[in-house]
Amino acid sequence: MNILHRQAMERLSMGKDATKDSLMPGTLEMLILKTLTRSALHGYGIAQYIKQVSDDVLQIEEGSLYPALQRLQVKGWVTSEWALTEKNRRARYYLITPLGRDQLAAESASYDRLIEAIARVMKPA
C-alpha cells in the first residue's frame, strides 16, 4: 500500500482518543474480509460489527474503511451490490468472493504466525 494511502488514513482518522490502537492496513482488510464471511453487510454494518465483536476496542474510522473497501473491490476480493435494508433504505452491500476467501486464509495464516512469534518472544523468561 503506498505512502499516500497511509498518509490519507492518518489525516482522516479523528480517533476519539490518542490511545486508540491503530491498525496496519493489511490487518484492517483481513478483518473486513472475515466480517463478510458471516454475511453480506454495508459499510456501516461492517464497522458496527467489528466494534461490537471487539468490545469497542476496534473502532474503524470511515477514513480508513472506505479506502480499504475500494482496494478490496479493485483486487477482486469483494463485490458489491445495492439492496434495501430492513428499513427499506437503499444501501451498498459487500460480499466476499472465492478469491477473497483465499486471500483471507492466507492473511489469517500469516497473521497467526506473527502472533505466535511475538508470543514466543514475550514469554516470561
Binding site: 505512502i3 470511515e62 473491490q73 444501501a91
Partner: protein
C-alpha cells in the same frame, strides 16, 4: 493464475475509468447512508438532533476528501504520484549536471538528426501531390528496353492509339518540350515551356488562378496561338499584372494570346516550366510513329488497380506491335504511378538514410543507458531506503522511467532546435532535381515524429537501467559500507552488452559510409571523355521562325563563333545540340551499308550530336583515327560523320570503319549515305555511371536532324568572368536572341553526381558521429571497469606485476567486447549492405577491402578509447587500493 488475476484487476480499473460519474454518485449515496445511520445511532444514544448531526459529521470527517481518496484507490497512477515522480526526477537530474548535460546532448544529436532526415522523407516521399486524387494519376511510357531505352518517350501516333483504344483511363493527355524566346518586353529571355493537350489541366484537377485553361478547339493547328503562364513567370516578368489575360505576347516571333495564369504551387511537370501552349498536333505528327518525344499522363477510372491498367495497356502495346512492325517491334508499354515517377529513384537512398540515422540514435541510447546504469549503481542506498519505506517495485520502476523520459524529452526539445539547423543545411546541399526539395520544412508531422521518437527513446534506454535499479537486495544495500550492488555481474553484463551493440551498429554505418565513399571516388575518377576545366557553357536556342533554314542558322553560328574567338581570354568556341551529362535524348536509328537489313524495329540506335568544327578541340576530346569535321564539310559536299570508339568497336570489330557508310532511317534512294571519316574517344553522354553509348557526330552545316542549342567556350581564365562578354557577343549578332543557363562545364559535371555526393556526405557524417559515440561509450565502460577493479590491480601490482601487464590486462577486456561487436557488426553488414547496392558504383556491396579497413579502424579507435582508462589502471597505488573498502 496470478496473471489472470492481475488482468482482471486491470479490467476492473478500466471499468472505473469508463464509469467515473456513476461511481461518484454511488459513493456519495453510500456515504450519505452511512452518515445517516451514524446520526441515528447518536440519536439512540440520547443526543439531540443537532448534536447528533454535528458529532456524526465531525467523526465522519471531510467527506469530499474521503471520496477523493477512495477514488484514487481505483486509479492506475494518480496525478499526485506523477507530479511527485516528475519533480523528483528533475531534482535528481539537476543534482548531477555533468551527467545530465552529456546525456541530453547525446540524445539531442540523435533525435535532432532523426527529425531532420524525417522532414526530408516527409516532404519528398510522404506528401501527397497537389492534384485531385493523385493516386489515380499515371505516367505512360513506351517500354523499349530491348532497344536500350527502358522508359522511352512515346511517339504521337502511338499516343493517339493508346488514347483511343484503352478502357481503363478516364482521361489522357500528352506533353512535348518546347522552348520559347520571349521578346518585345525588355530583355529577351529563353523560356522553358510545354506543348500540352487542352485536357491536361482538367485531368490534373487544377483550376487556373486567373482566366481559363485551353478550350478543345484551341488544341488544333488552326486555333493554337494561345498561352497559359506559370505563376512564377507572371510575377517575375509581368509584375503580377491582373490585366494580363487577353494580352498578346511575342513568343518565337509569333503572337500568342494569354488565356490564363496557373496558381503558385502548380509546377508541371517541374519547377522550370514557365508556360504552356496547346499541343495541336499537325498532320505529319499525327501519323508519326518513329519520333519519340512525348510525355503522357493519364487518370485511371475509379476503383481500377494498377495491375488491371498495366495488363490492358500491355495488350494494346502488343496489338500495335503486330499492326506496325516497322516502328513498334519490341516496344511495349509501361504504366508508372505519378508519385513513384517523381520519387521512385530517390526512395531507396532516403530510406537508407533514415535507417542509418535511426542507428545513430540507437547508439546514443546505448550510451545514455550505460550512463544511467552507472548512475543507478551509485544510487543503490537511496533506492534501498525508499523500498524499506514502502515503495513498491512498480513505483520505483515508474520513478526511474519518469527520469528517463524526462531526460529524453529534454533531449528531444534540444534535438528539435538542432533539427531546424539540420533542415537548413540539408536544403542547402540537397540536389536540386529532387521533387519538392525546396518545400522541405518542419511541420506538424515532424513535430509529432520527434515527440514519439523522444518518448520511445526514453523508454528504450530507460528500461534496462530502471529494471536494474529497482531490483534491490535490501540486506546487501543497507549493510554498513555496502558496495555498489551493480558490481554484481548482472550490471556489468548489461553494460558489456551495450558496448557490443554500439560497436556492431557503428560498424554497419561505417561500412555503409565506406562503401559510398569508395563508390563516389570511383565515380569521380571516371573519365568523362573530355576535359571539363575552363569551359563556359550557355544555351542559345534559335527560334525556328526566324532561322527557318540551315543556311541562316549556319551563318549565325559561324559569325557567333568567330566573334567569340576574338575575345581576349578565349581559346576556342563551338556549338552542339546536347552537351554531355546535361540532356538526354536525340538519337536516330541507322542502317549500315553492306550489312543485311535488320528486322523491322531492330535498327541500331545511336545518339546523334550535331556540332561545329571546333567542338572536339574545345572539349579536348581525343581523335583516335581519321579526321575531324571541318568548315569544308558543307551542305554541298559529301555528308560525313565522326563516330565514337564504342560504335566503331561494336559495328566494325577488327575492321577499319573509315570510309564505311551509314544512313539514317530506311534506305529508299542512295542519297542519304553518310561517310565515316573519323573515330573519337568515347564521351559519357548521359551519366558517369552508364557505359558510353554508340554515338555519331554530324556537322551543323550538313544536317537538319537536330539543331545546336548549347554554346561552349574554352577559356584561359576563369570561365564565368567572360560570361557577360560572350553574352554581349551573342547580342551583337542578334539583339533579340535570348541566352540562358550560363554555367561552367565543371558545374554540370559536378551536378551530374550531386545525388551520390549527397548520400555519401550524409552517411559519412552519421558514421563519424556513430564512431565518436561508440568511442565515448567504450571509454565510459572502460573507466568504470577500471575503477571497479582497482583492488584487483592494486594486488597484482603489489605482487609484482609490471605496469605493462596491467595495461594489457585492462585493454584486453574492452578489446574482447569490441571484437565480439565487430563480428556481429560485420555479419549484419554483409546482409544489410545489399540494400545499398543500387547506390553503389564500381564496387560490390561486400567489398572485402572496405570491410577489413573499417574493422581495423574500429579496433584502433577502441584501443585508443581504452588507453586513458587503462593508463589509470597502471597508476594504481597498491597501498591505497588495498586499503579501499
Amino acid at each position: 493464475m496470478n496473471f489472470i488475476n492481475k488482468l482482471k484487476e486491470l479490467l476492473r480499473r478500466l471499468e472505473f475509468l469508463k464509469r467515473q460519474r456513476e461511481f461518484d454518485q454511488d459513493l456519495e449515496e453510500e456515504m450519505g447512508f452511512h452518515l445517516e445511520m451514524k446520526i441515528e445511532e447518536n440519536l439512540d444514544n440520547g443526543m439531540s438532533l443537532e448534536e447528533a448531526r454535528y458529532a456524526a459529521q465531525r467523526q465522519f470527517g471531510n467527506s469530499l476528501l474521503l471520496r477523493e481518496v477512495s477514488r484514487e484507490m481505483w486509479k492506475f497512477i494518480t496525478i499526485e504520484t506523477l507530479i511527485q515522480d516528475f519533480r523528483y526526477g528533475l531534482r535528481m537530474l539537476l543534482k548531477t549536471p555533468g551527467f545530465t548535460i552529456v546525456a541530453v546532448f547525446a540524445l539531442a544529436l540523435g533525435i535532432g538528426a532523426n527529425s531532420a532526415i524525417f522532414s526530408v522523407v516527409n516532404t519528398v516521399l510522404l506528401h501527397p501531390l497537389p492534384y485531385k486524387d493523385p493516386d489515380r494519376l499515371m505516367m505512360v511510357w513506351e517500354d523499349s528496353t530491348k532497344h536500350g531505352f527502358p522508359r522511352d518517350t512515346p511517339s504521337v501516333a502511338n499516343y493517339i492509339d493508346w488514347r483511343d483504344q484503352n478502357q481503363v483511363f478516364e482521361n489522357m493527355a500528352a506533353m512535348a518540350e518546347r522552348s520559347f524566346n520571349l521578346t518585345g518586353v525588355g530583355e529577351p529571355e529563353r523560356l522553358d515551356g510545354r506543348r500540352v493537350s487542352a485536357s491536361l489541366f482538367a485531368l490534373l484537377g487544377v483550376e487556373p488562378q486567373l482566366g481559363r485553361a485551353f478550350l478543345p478547339e484551341e488544341d488544333s493547328p488552326g486555333g493554337n496561338r494561345v498561352v497559359m503562364l506559370s505563376y512564377g513567370l507572371w510575377q517575375r516578368r509581368f509584375g503580377a499584372d491582373k490585366n494580363i489575360i487577353g494580352r498578346s505576347l511575342t513568343l518565337n516571333g509569333e503572337s500568342y494570346l494569354v488565356t490564363g495564369v496557373m496558381p503558385q504551387n502548380f509546377q508541371f511537370p517541374n519547377n522550370d516550366v514557365a508556360l504552356w501552349v496547346p499541343i495541336s498536333f499537325n498532320k505529319d505528327e499525327l501519323t508519326n510513329r518513329g519520333s519519340h518525344y512525348l510525355q503522357v499522363i493519364a487518370r485511371t477510372k475509379p476503383n481500377i488497380s494498377l495491375q488491371q491498367v498495366q495488363a490492358e495497356m500491355s495488350t494494346i502495346g502488343a496489338r500495335l506491335q503486330q499492326q506496325y512492325p516497322d516502328s513498334n517491334t519490341d516496344i511495349g508499354i509501361e504504366v508508372v504511378p505519378l508519385h513513384e515517377q517523381l520519387v521512385g529513384d530517390i526512395k531507396p537512398a532516403l530510406l537508407i538514410l533514415l535507417g542509418s540515422v535511426g542507428f545513430v540514435l540507437l547508439i546514443a541510447c546505448a550510451n545514455v543507458a550505460n550512463l544511467l546504469l552507472a548512475r543507478a549503481a551509485v544510487r543503490q542506498k537511496e533506492v534501498a531506503v525508499r523500498a524499506a519505506l514502502g515503495a513498491s517495485r512498480l513505483r520505483l520502476l515508474r520513478q526511474f522511467l519518469t527520469e528517463s523520459i524526462l531526460l529524453a524529452t529534454l533531449g528531444g526539445l534540444m534535438g528539435l532546435l538542432l533539427s531546424f539547423l539540420g533542415v537548413y543545411l540539408l536544403k542547402a546541399f540537397i540536389p536540386a532535381n529532387i521533387s519538392q526539395a525546396k518545400a522541405i520544412t518542419i511541420d506538424a508531422k515532424v513535430l509529432a515524429f520527434t515527440l514519439l521518437v523522444s518518448l520511445l527513446t526514453g523508454l528504450l534506454f530507460g528500461l534496462a537501467p530502471a529494471t536494474q535499479a529497482s531490483k534491490v537486495n535490501l540486506n546487501d544495500a543497507l549493510k554498513e559500507g555496502g558496495r555498489d550492488s551493480a558490481s554484481g555481474s548482472q550490471g556489468n553484463r548489461i553494460r558489456g552488452l551495450l558496448v557490443v551493440l554500439e560497436v556492431a551498429v557503428s560498424i554497419i554505418l561505417l561500412i555503409g559510409a565506406g562503401l559510398l565513399i569508395n563508390s563516389f571516388l570511383r565515380l569521380c575518377n571516371v573519365d568523362p571523355g573530355f576535359r571539363a576545366e575552363n569551359l563556359l557553357t550557355m544555351q542559345v536556342v534559335l527560334p525556328e521562325l526566324k532561322y527557318a533554314d540551315l543556311v541562316r542558322r549556319s551563318a549565325f553560328y559561324d559569325e557567333l563563333i568567330s566573334r567569340i574567338e576574338t575575345l581576349p581570354g578565349v581559346k576556342s568556341a563551338a556549338v552542339i545540340n546536347n552537351l554531355p551529362l546535361y540532356r538526354q535524348g536525340n538519337s536516330i536509328g541507322i542502317i549500315i551499308e553492306g550489312r543485311p537489313e535488320p528486322p523491322p524495329g531492330e535498327q541500331p540506335i545511336v545518339t546523334t550530336r550535331v556540332i561545329s568544327p571546333n567542338y572536339f578541340r574545345t572539349m579536348s576530346i581525343e581523335l583516335l583515327q581519321g579526321r575531324e569535321l571541318t568548315k569544308q564539310d558543307t551542305a554541298n559536299s559529301t555528308m560525313v560523320t565522326v563516330i565514337s570508339e564504342t560504335m566503331a568497336r561494336r559495328y566494325w570489330p577488327g575492321e577499319d570503319p573509315i570510309g564505311k557508310r551509314i544512313s539514317a532511317g530506311r534506305s529508299e534512294s542512295g542519297d542519304n549515305w553518310i561517310t565515316i571519316i573519323g573515330v573519337v574517344k568515347d564521351v559519357r553522354q548521359f551519366e558517369l555511371t552508364a557505359d558510353p553509348k554508340s554515338q555519331i557526330y554530324l556537322s551543323y552545316q550538313q544536317t537538319a536532324f537536330f539543331y545546336p542549342r548549347d554554346l561552349v567556350v574554352k577559356t584561359n581564365v576563369e570561365p564565368l568572368s567572360l560570361a557577360s562578354a560572350v553574352r554581349n557577343t551573342v547580342w551583337e549578332v542578334d539583339k533579340d536572341q535570348p541566352v540562358s543557363n550560363i554555367r561552367t562545364m565543371e558545374t554540370i559535371l559536378s551536378e551530374s553526381i550531386a545525388r551520390q555526393r549527397f548520400s555519401m556526405l550524409l552517411l559519412g557524417i552519421f558514421a563519424i558521429v556513430a564512431l565518436v559515440l561508440a568511442a565515448v561509450g567504450i571509454y565510459g565502460v572502460m573507466s568504470y571497469s577500471v575503477a571497479q577493479r582497482t583492488r584487483e590491480f592494486g594486488i597484482r601490482i603489489a605482487l609484482g606485476a609490471k605496469r605493462v601487464d596491467v595495461l594489457k590486462l585492462a585493454v584486453a577486456e574492452s578489446l574482447k567486447l569490441v571484437l565480439i561487436g565487430i563480428v556481429i557488426g560485420l555479419s549484419a553488414a554483409l546482409i544489410l549492405t545489399r540494400v545499398m547496392s543500387s547506390l553503389l558504383f564500381g564496387i560490390s556491396a561486400t567489398d572485402p577491402t572496405t570491410f577489413i579497413t573499417i574493422s581495423l579502424l574500429i579496433i584502433s579507435v577502441a584501443i585508443l578509447a581504452s588507453f586513458i582508462p587503462a593508463l589509470r589502471a597502471t597508476k594504481v597505488d597498491p597501498m591505497v587500493a588495498l586499503r579501499y573498502e
